[in-house]
């Protein structure tokens, strides 16, 4: 416990001190730590029993920031919209009347009202990678889950580090699980997307699969020590995992919410399995699935929720969507708190851009990349705050503009990864920092 500095350059901050050694110094300074403090320090340094994790809810199409967390009650009627605001349990923070569930637990949430740096493009790319896809490096930018998969790997249990719960969406740029310079080995496992068809038995009974497996065992005698690279044994591991899935497994169980108490399932709500627009269904169950997957050892779970590109009927759509969204988010955040996972699991919900201040002739709002919003929770962050502000019309960030990459820096930080000193190599071997430029984790939320 007395190590004062470790000059290893991997996994260390810019000052050459690792987080652990920093914690040790802290311990010395305080004259020692209690057991619970030690355990917490362990957990914070990513070595504890529970893993740091991220649940990202992507809202395809771009949700209306000014009708959710940033109601402009004083704006002229062509801008203001139809909703009034309500108080939350955080004094001074007011949100849309359609979000009463969130209002009740606003102390556990962060409303970012001033997300900037978006492009007017209907795609999940920036929400998933933090990057604009202007000049991608050879191989393409990786999604945050792929980066975490590369840096931290699987938690050791038979589950993949990165799971994407999206189904294939009609508007293809909404889809996730892109290949990147990190290679397909770090692409998300997509149990409802690309691998869905392979997860239930195709034309064979379970009994026959067992027969086949015994046959495979009998014939798969090639000497594993012929391969020093580990790729053969890696394949064996995946094969075992795949059999687990096909028979019955932790992962498969995690994907089945039927074992959850009815009360909890009711708490999360239903939504609808109907695909919305050219995007995703509004399935509240996926929030519960995400939590179950994290419990099973997944590090990053991403999902797509409903369809938010409301060029017409903005308010009608909001009345349909926001209550379901409110229920799902508040249930998930409360659930994570009740299970003591709130320090480890970060939740974020956001879309690719905001909506125009002015309501158009169809009662809709159009694309508005100038400013948008994000909802965050958990991750050991200082919750119970609204960050940033927009002008009277909700058109520009006037206070504390928050860049996409700042949010990514914060997400990486919460996952126990230093975003400003950690690099991943692209196909040319050039190292890339996880966030560009000088973006740092958001001071308001960490530390």
């Amino acid at each position: 416990m007395l190590t004062l500095s470790s000059r290893t350059h991997s996994n260390s901050f810019c000052d050459g001190l690792s987080r652990r050694s920093f914690l040790r110094i802290g311990a010395m300074g305080l004259g020692g730590l209690s057991l619970s403090q030690l355990l917490r320090a362990e957990a914070q340094s990513g070595k504890g029993k529970s893993q740091k994790a991220l649940i990202m809810i992507y809202l395809p199409g771009g949700p209306p920031h000014q009708d959710m967390f940033d109601i402009k009650v004083d704006a002229p009627s062509e801008i203001r919209g139809e909703f009034s605001e309500i108080a939350t349990n955080v004094p001074g923070v007011r949100i849309c009347e359609l979000l009463p569930g969130m209002a009740k637990i606003a102390d556990k949430l962060v409303f970012v009202r001033s997300v900037v740096g978006a492009k007017d493009r209907h795609e999940s790319f920036q929400c998933l990678t933090g990057r604009l896809n202007e000049k991608p490096p050879p191989g393409g930018w990786p999604e945050i889950g792929s980066v975490v998969s590369k840096l931290q790997g699987s938690t050791g249990s038979a589950v993949p580090p990165y799971v994407n719960l999206s189904q294939k969406m009609q508007h293809t740029p909404y889809n996730q699980g892109r290949n990147s310079f990190l290679g397909i080995g770090h692409s998300p496992f997509m149990p409802l997307g690309s691998v869905k068809d392979d997860m239930t038995l195709n034309g064979v009974t379970l009994e026959r699969l067992h027969d086949r497996r015994s046959l495979l065992t009998a014939f798969d005698g090639f000497r594993r020590d012929a391969d020093a690279s580990g790729s053969m044994s890696g394949l064996d591991d995946f094969e075992a995992q795949a059999f687990d899935i096909l028979t019955s497994s932790r992962l498969l169980k995690a994907l089945d919410v039927s074992g959850e108490p009815d009360k909890l399932r009711t708490r999360y709500g239903k939504g609808t399995a109907q695909v919305q627009g050219d995007a995703a269904p509004r399935l509240n169950e996926q929030f519960l699935l995400a939590r179950r997957l994290v419990e099973a050892g997944v590090r990053v779970v991403t999902l797509s929720y409903s369809f938010w590109d409301w060029h017409g009927g903005n308010f009608k759509n909001a009345r349909q969507n926001l209550p379901d969204f409110d229920q799902a988010v508040s249930a998930l955040v409360e659930d994570l708190h009740q299970r003591g996972m709130d320090k480890d699991v970060t939740v974020i919900a956001w879309g690719e851009f905001g909506r125009t201040p002015r309501i158009n002739k169809d009662g809709g709002r159009d694309h508005w990349p100038n400013v948008s919003c994000a909802l965050m929770a958990g991750g050991g962050m200082h919750t119970g705050q609204a960050i940033g502000a927009t002008d009277r019309q909700g058109g520009e960030a006037t206070e504390r503009p928050v860049h996409f990459e700042e949010i990514f820096a914060t997400l990486y930080h919460n996952l126990g990864i230093n975003p400003t000193t950690t690099t991943v190599p692209d196909l040319t071997g050039r190292p890339h920092y996880l966030v560009d430029g000088t973006w740092q984790p958001m001071k308001e939320l960490i530390g």
């Binding site: 068809d197 392979d198 086949r212 009998a218 790729s231 053969m232 795949a242 400003t420």
Partner: protein, 809 residues
């Protein structure tokens, strides 16, 4: 390479040591005395024991050091000399009665030298990571203070450090209280933490430089022109150490020890560790490894070979120069190779590697039955003559040369792919092949070789691709800053870019096509750093004098494909070596830096020489590789070489590439996959471009590249859970297994004895006959399910999912 002279003395001594010499290295060539100039000078001496019967080894830390007269200088136990008073002294190293001496002149010992900002201060910023890409070296700087990345722009650094922010960073009146020093030591809050400690030599060097008035230095001051590393290479016993010594030669022909000023990076940390003072420690892993040494824009390398020293036993026959070089390395390492593989394994291996397919049942049967002692040679020749070879390698080149469909008409990618296939089929010499691509003009329909220009439209990508694909030089870095590990500067980058500056396009007669042509004008590219135009300049060469009517691309192609080009042949042989062995002699295969040496340089030279001498004959290269005993070694390890991953003491198994695997499954199930717009029975390896990936989950999930990069690393050989699920349980595979026209159905109907059918299944799947045990297991399984195709489906399914099938081994 310079010759260094050692001052050596033989002394008579106990018999056991009688044949061991002791040598002392000072870094000064020509036997001249070493010089310690200035109060802060230091010199790392390296003492080496040179036994007459064994490889030399480092004894710097075990000899006894003495100095005569002792008043002139002092020397530490680790061999570092520092001055005391002016004069000449002899340093004596003694070990077991053996002695070696070196003369050192001490001058200016009473006073500090004036440090050069450019050559001594800036390298400190590099050494302590201040100007790294994560801190002040990034393009925006850090918290308002910007340094040039890795110190390649000392003029800018001086400006920022001394004058910017009203000069607040330096405080010459009390240097130790300068913002610079307080931040560097962490005495003031510093995002980067404490980087150096008060009182250390480097700290004092910075302080003294400020005391001297923070001089910017004179452009005429002597500057370092080269660095040399001692020793350049060494056989290092496992877990032994080696002290390095690094000397800079200056423009005034003086020398200075910079052992503690350079940056050391071990390329294989599991084999070699290196300290900031140049002490290298070998681990237990056997093989070759290198330490990269960087100082300003110069780089050097120390290569170590860590032997195993196992008993050698009998080697396979040395069939050509490849075996000679590989086996010589294995003997040096004491790493005995595995035996040569059996016929069935060779047949499958070489058919997969040359033709991109598994052998047919007939091929497997007839090769086993063939009594010709030279049948392996005949097989290689037959495969090379087949169109399968051309199809398979055309796919490889198609990916590298980015034959991506995009929005172009299909005929464009098809035409380029067809041209590649024909070039390989007719065995067009590689130099001609590259010349035709590089200097191509016209439209695709008129000249399919313009396909590369169709896909790669920006001159930036053109020069980077050419440098990477044909030279193994990754120039990308040098677009914005000096290459951190190589000699390439922005000037080199834009000099190379200038070759493509006159490439122009116009709409072609054929719809959807453009014609590429050379515009008649002076070729140049603007170096944004100097704001000056640079004329076409080959890498490491002189500026070319071209007339406006000359096509610079022709000059580039001539330079590139000349037999004396230092990159061209090596890059290709390394790429092909990797194709057949799964690992390049240099890894990554297209990153052939001085600081990233080959694991077997003699073999690399031998291959390049052979290839050049053959007039760039690709088939001849493949033939030499495949006929070597090295390629034919078994993948099964002996008791010594299981952990070998780089010395080719056995064959390294690797998973079949996506297309090859899909074709193999089609072959063994008897049901081909259909590809849109392709004739029935078209092989996946022969698909002309990337456009088939989107519609074929198998190809996507197993990592067929999208042809977006000039690097073969775009092809992912990673395994994943999704792949395993797909192989074990995909609808597509089950349909192939149970298809009425498929192999399982045919086997179920077959009236031949079950043993015979089982034998054929194994020949089809694994190119070998089953063992008695395998036959029995399979027989039990199918007999219990008599007459049902399902039993045969299951048997084929199990064999497909076995590692023996999924891997080339």
């Amino acid at each position: 390479m310079k010759r260094f002279l050692f001052l050596t003395t033989f002394l008579a001594l106990p018999a056991a040591y009688a044949e061991t010499k002791l040598e002392l290295h000072t870094g000064i060539p020509g036997g001249k005395p070493a010089v310690l100039k200035g109060k802060d000078a230091s010199l790392q001496l390296v003492a080496t024991a040179v036994p007459s019967d064994k490889a030399p080894f480092d004894v710097t830390r075990s000899v006894t050091w003495t100095v005569e007269p002792a008043s002139v200088l002092t020397i530490s136990k680790t061999g570092v000399a520092t001055p005391l008073t002016d004069g000449t002294a002899t340093v004596i190293a003694t070990s077991d009665g053996t002695k070696a001496t070196a003369t050192i002149n001490v001058t200016g010992a009473a006073s500090w030298r004036t440090a050069s900002f450019t050559h001594e201060i800036v390298p400190l910023f590099t050494k302590y990571g201040c100007n790294g890409g994560g801190c002040h070296g990034k393009s925006e700087g850090q918290n308002g203070f910007k340094l040039s990345l890795l110190g390649f722009e000392p003029g800018e650094d001086y400006e920022h450090l001394v004058f910017e922010s009203r000069g607040r960073r330096l405080f010459p009146a009390a240097p130790e209280n300068s913002l610079l020093m307080l931040k560097a030591t962490g005495e003031m809050p510093h995002g980067g933490g404490a980087r150096m400690e008060r009182g250390t030599p480097d700290y004092l060097a910075l302080v003294r430089w400020m005391e001297q008035g923070a001089p910017p230095g004179n452009p005429d001051d002597p500057h370092p022109v080269s660095i040399s590393v001692f020793p350049p290479e060494r056989l290092l016993q496992p877990e032994s150490t080696q002290q390095l010594q690094v000397t800079a030669q200056y423009s005034d022909d003086s020398f200075r020890d910079i052992t503690t000023s350079v940056q050391y990076d071990s390329a294989a940390k599991d084999m070699l560790e290196v300290s900031s003072t140049g002490l290298v420690k070998a681990a237990k892993l056997t093989g070759d490894a290198a330490v990269m040494i960087r100082y300003k824009e110069m780089a050097g390398v120390f290569r170590a070979t860590i032997p195993l020293g196992a008993p050698m036993g009998e080697f396979p026959p040395e069939r050509n120069f490849i075996d000679r070089h590989v086996f010589a390395k294995l003997r040096t390492l004491g790493l005995p190779p595995s035996a040569v593989c059996d016929d069935a394994t060779f047949l499958r291996r070489v058919t997969l590697d040359i033709a991109g397919r598994v052998p047919t049942t007939t091929e497997a049967e007839s090769f086993a039955a063939d009594k010709n002692p030279d049948k392996r040679t005949a097989l290689v020749d037959r495969l090379l003559a087949s169109t399968d070879y051309a199809e398979y390698f055309a796919g490889k080149w198609s990916a590298l040369l980015r034959n991506k469909r995009g929005n172009s008409p299909a005929r464009t990618t098809y035409a380029f792919h067809g041209w590649l296939r024909e070039s390989l089929n007719s065995n067009k010499p590689y130099d001609q092949f590259v010349r035709e691509i590089l200097a191509a003009s016209g439209s695709i329909s008129g000249n399919p070789a313009t396909g590369w220009y169709r896909a790669v439209t920006k001159s930036q990508d053109q020069l980077q691709d050419v440098a990477q694909v044909f030279c193994g030089q990754r120039l990308q870095c040098a677009q914005c800053h000096h290459h951190p590990y190589e000699k390439w500067s922005q000037q080199d980058y834009y000099g190379f870019a200038a070759f493509f500056s006159t490439v122009a396009r116009k709409p072609a007669d054929e719809p959807g096509e453009e014609a590429v042509f050379n515009q008649w004008r002076d070729a140049f590219a603007l170096n944004p750093k100097t704001q000056k135009n640079v004329k076409p300049t080959p890498l490491g060469g002189q500026v070319l004098a071209l007339k406006p009517q000359d096509d610079p691309r022709r000059s580039l192609a001539s330079w590139l494909t000349a037999p004396e080009n230092p990159f061209f042949a090596k890059m290709l042989v390394n790429r092909y070596w990797k194709h057949f062995f799964g690992r390049g002699l240099v890894e990554p295969e297209d990153d052939m830096r001085v600081t990233n040496p080959a694991t077997n340089p003699e073999l690399m030279d031998g291959l390049a020489h052979h290839f050049t001498e053959s007039k760039f004959n690709l088939k001849a290269l493949v033939r030499s590789i495949c006929l070597s005993s090295t390629y034919q070694l078994s993948s099964l390890p002996n008791e010594h070489n299981a952990t070998d991953r780089q010395n080719f003491s056995r064959f390294f198994p690797r998973r079949l590439p996506a297309e090859v695997l899909l074709d193999a499954i089609d072959t063994v199930t008897g049901i081909p996959t259909k590809f849109a717009g392709q004739p029935a029975g078209a092989r996946a390896v022969a698909l002309p471009d990337d456009s088939f990936n989107a519609g074929n989950y198998f190809l996507t999930v197993f990592g067929r590249p999208d042809n977006t990069s000039a690097c073969e690393c775009e092809r992912s050989q990673d395994s994943s859970l999704a792949q395993s699920l797909h192989l074990l349980n995909s609808k597509g595979l089950q349909e192939k297994l149970s298809g009425a026209e498929g192999r399982a159905a045919a086997l179920a109907k077959d009236k031949a004895a079950p043993e015979d059918r089982i034998r054929r299944v194994f020949l089809t799947l694994n190119a070998r006959t089953p063992t008695a045990e395998e036959t029995k297991k399979a027989l039990d399984y199918v007999t219990a399910r008599e007459g049902k195709p399902a039993a045969w489906e299951d048997l084929i399914w199990a064999l497909i999912n076995s590692k023996e099938f999924l891997f080339n081994h």
